[in-house]
């Protein structure tokens, strides 16, 4: 019999009205019918409602911690509020065993007119600590917050960092069996953050179950063993924290990819005899001597499929259909790659790759580039294409955003270190201890260590 669980959520769902007017109307209606003793079926959507959280189930054991991930509006905060007893679920149930502490926007109930010390007592009472508990732990709280003599000045004179430190310090002393944390770890300086993480690990060792909501991969990975990825209110992925973080990063890349696609003009644009714009600034342009109609991305193995997601490290094959209208001497074909936050992170150029074409006559062509190896980091990328000519320092044709693709997170590696990195560098690490250098006149090792 498994009796070790602290949270058991079964099929939790919660719906909201899209507009304030709807919510108000439904809220009044539901309340009135409840007062009249009628049961309102809550498991169906009425018009103008949506599921903020839909059918979420999970179980958490003692000392385990769950990272709740998802893009903005995916239902994380709503789920946390259900777990904290603020919202009642519309469907399903959750059982919480133990005292629940919540670090949701720390410093709830802080009054700016009161001193830090007075606020400790107010805030502590809100978190379920009595006056005697706080008296006993006051020194510990003051040491944790580490704001010195400011403790006796009004909180309205505090910096925002000091407010959060004080709030966290009070919350830290509650020692609950279940701790819910919503995006509050990214505060304070490095020392304070380290203190927070140390504290959370100590709680975990003592058996506290933690649920952490964060957009920070680093914070989730530092604390959590399990992950739950929500998307549009539903569980997209759950399991080990690494797997869920991978799914989260792939989901993010996929969404970014969707955005770049949306911003591209509809196909058909500039396909016929429309004159190409001859200036830069647009997405497409050129002299009209050559026009590229379509650029597709595939892999060497899965060539021809329209799937634009590639495995990490997988080969890339680019194909472009080209319409040459007047003959071109010494043409050069070039593709460049934009990452999410940076432009031109990679390029592949026919001249650089030793393709020396003399002249191409008018006609239709298929241009193909096989890239057998690449080490782009997981994420979404945009491909730009240009046709140039040797001896002319301008484009005959350019197309920004000709295609886009996504590099998936590898199964065998966990790439968490830097979300903005674009290129993966493989490397072998080794750590060897230096032999102690005996320099004449230097102090003995022991005394140096002391000073």
């Amino acid at each position: 019999m498994d009796s070790n669980w602290t949270i058991r959520a079964e099929g939790l769902s919660k719906k909201f009205g899209m507009t304030l007017r709807r919510s108000m109307a439904y809220g009044l209606k539901d309340s009135l019918s409840r007062l009249c003793g009628n049961r309102v079926p809550s498991n169906v959507l009425r018009s103008g409602e949506f599921w903020a959280v839909k059918d979420v189930s999970f179980e958490l054991h003692r000392g385990e911690s769950l990272g709740l991930m998802g893009i903005n509006g995916s239902g994380k905060t709503t789920l946390l509020r259900i777990l904290n007893g603020i919202f009642a679920p519309d469907v399903g149930q959750v059982v919480m065993r133990g005292r629940v502490g919540a670090l949701v926007a720390v410093g709830a109930g802080f009054s700016p007119m009161l001193t830090g010390r007075e606020n400790i007592y107010v805030n502590g009472a809100l978190l379920g600590l009595g006056k005697r508990d706080i008296d006993r732990k006051l020194d510990e709280i003051l040491a944790f917050a580490d704001i010195g003599a400011f403790i006796d000045s009004p909180v309205k004179h505090y910096s925002s960092g000091m407010v959060v430190r004080l709030g966290f310090a009070v919350a830290a002393m509650c020692e609950p069996e279940i701790l819910l944390i919503d995006e509050v770890l990214a505060v304070g300086d490095i020392n304070f953050q380290k203190k927070c993480y140390d504290y959370l690990h100590r709680l975990k060792r003592d058996g506290t179950s933690i649920i952490l909501v964060s957009h920070s991969v680093g914070a989730i990975w530092a604390i959590c063993d399990k992950g739950l990825l929500l998307h549009e209110g539903q569980v997209r992925s759950s399991g080990s924290v690494e797997d869920v973080l991978r799914a989260y990063s792939d989901l993010n890349a996929r969404i970014a990819l969707g955005r770049t696609k949306q911003s591209q003009p509809l196909p058909g644009f500039l396909q016929s005899a429309d004159p190409l714009p001859t200036c830069y600034g647009g997405q497409k342009g050129g002299t009209g001597e050559v026009v590229v109609h379509e650029v597709t991305i595939g892999t060497l193995k899965r060539n021809g499929t329209q799937d634009d997601s590639l495995e990490f490290g997988e080969s890339i094959a680019i194909e472009a259909t080209i319409d040459v209208r007047t003959s071109i001497v010494s043409p050069i074909f070039r593709f460049t790659v934009d990452a999410m936050h940076y432009k031109y992170v990679a390029s592949v150029d026919s001249f650089e790759q030793d393709l020396r074409l003399k002249t191409i006559a008018p006609g239709k062509f298929v241009l193909r580039v096989d890239i057998p190896r690449q080490n782009l980091m997981p994420g979404s990328y945009v491909l730009n294409m240009a046709v140039c000519k040797k001896g002319v320092d301008s484009h005959l044709f350019f197309w920004f955003g000709a295609a886009s693709f996504q590099i998936l997170h590898p199964r065998d590696k966990f790439l968490y270190s830097e979300a903005n990195a674009v290129v993966y560098l493989g490397g072998e690490f080794s750590l060897t201890e230096l032999a102690e250098q005996k320099v004449s006149g230097s102090m003995p090792v022991e005394s140096r260590a002391v000073s």
Binding site: S3, N4, F16, S23, M24, G27, L28, D30, S31, R34, L35, G37, R39, S42, N43, R62, R81, I82, L83, N84, G85, I86, F87, A88, P89, D90, V91, G92, Q93, V94, V95, M96, R97, G98, R99, V100, A102, V104, A105, A108, G109, S111, M113, L114, E118, Y121, V122, A125, L126, L127, G130, K131, E175, P176, E177, L203, D206, G207, T208
Partner: protein, 288 residues
């Protein structure tokens, strides 16, 4: 100390879709339990608001005195100018009026803080799991304080006009309870409705102003007109205010039966209000 030593002693909370307890009795049990559980929080919130107000204002709690005094001034003006005839009085009108205004102010003050409590503490409703009833009732401490201040004024007033209250005046705090119960009950209903539809609170203020003129606050409940007399008779507020006032001044209740019935009505409204609050409180957090 290890926070987890034995699993079976841990509090277990279940949050489900259905409203679990629907009987009035269980609502009442829950009210008592949750208020007892949160007594310290309520006390802290009272202390907080109390000190903050004291620090923020130049006149501090002098405002508590000024409010009823200004309210009284208008009635005194009407009285001295001959427009308002309060009826036959054996005691000076200012004293009679002050007692009535104080009791009425207690009633409306409690309705005001209880009905606005959830909105005032919206932040805490959304961020902490403190029972909502505690947040709704947290403001009543302040009203009680204001009434204690009024008591001091009353003593000064009695001294000035040379009237010694009867010994029965000591029972007034008990006699006021039904009035407070009625106010809390109404306030609880307004607090949930007010959180769902914001204009209800504004509406209730207007209605309360009307109610004041249908209640013998500023005049003696004796009318030649039968309809008016009936309205006063069947208005429970009349008895809930008249009885404490008479006990304070003369040590007697003129219509004990009506007072008992009105008191029962007050407690009934309290119970129904608390029940309604429990039935609908989970809808409140969503609409804040």
């Amino acid at each position: 100390m290890n926070p987890i030593q034995s699993t079976y002693e841990l509090p277990v909370r279940v949050y489900t879709s259905c409203v679990q307890k629907t009987s009035i009795v269980s609502s009442l049990v829950q009210v008592v339990r949750e208020i007892w559980m949160t007594r310290e929080v309520v006390w802290r919130l009272f202390l907080r608001d109390f000190t903050v107000q004291f620090r923020q204002k130049v006149l501090g709690y002098l405002w508590a005195f000024l409010g009823p005094l200004i309210g009284m001034a208008s009635f005194l003006f009407l009285n001295y100018s001959g427009i308002l005839n309060p009826g036959e009085l054996t005691i000076p009108y200012p004293l009679y009026l002050f007692l009535g205004m104080t009791l009425w102010g207690f009633f409306t003050g409690v309705i005001g803080v209880v009905s606005g409590g959830l909105l005032t503490h919206g932040d805490l409703v959304l961020r902490t799991s403190i029972p909502k009833i505690a947040l709704a009732l947290a403001g009543t401490g302040n009203v009680v304080y204001v009434q204690l201040v009024n008591l001091v004024i009353l003593m000064i007033l009695c001294g000035t006009v040379g009237i010694v209250p009867s010994w029965w005046a000591l029972t007034v705090p008990l006699m006021v309870l039904p009035l407070i119960a009625l106010a809390v009950g109404i306030g609880l209903v307004f607090s949930v409705i007010g959180a769902l539809a914001r204009d209800v609170t504004a509406m209730s203020t207007t209605v309360l102003n009307l109610m004041m003129f249908l209640t013998p606050v500023a005049y003696v409940p004796k009318f030649a007109n039968r309809y008016l007399q009936n309205i006063i008779m069947f208005n429970p507020l009349s008895h809930l205010i008249e009885a404490p006032r008479n006990v304070f001044l003369r040590g007697t209740i003129e219509e004990p039966t009506a007072f008992v019935i009105s008191s029962l009505f007050g407690f009934l409204i309290l119970i129904l209000g608390a029940h309604a609050f429990y039935l609908t409180q989970d809808k409140v957090a969503e609409r804040l």
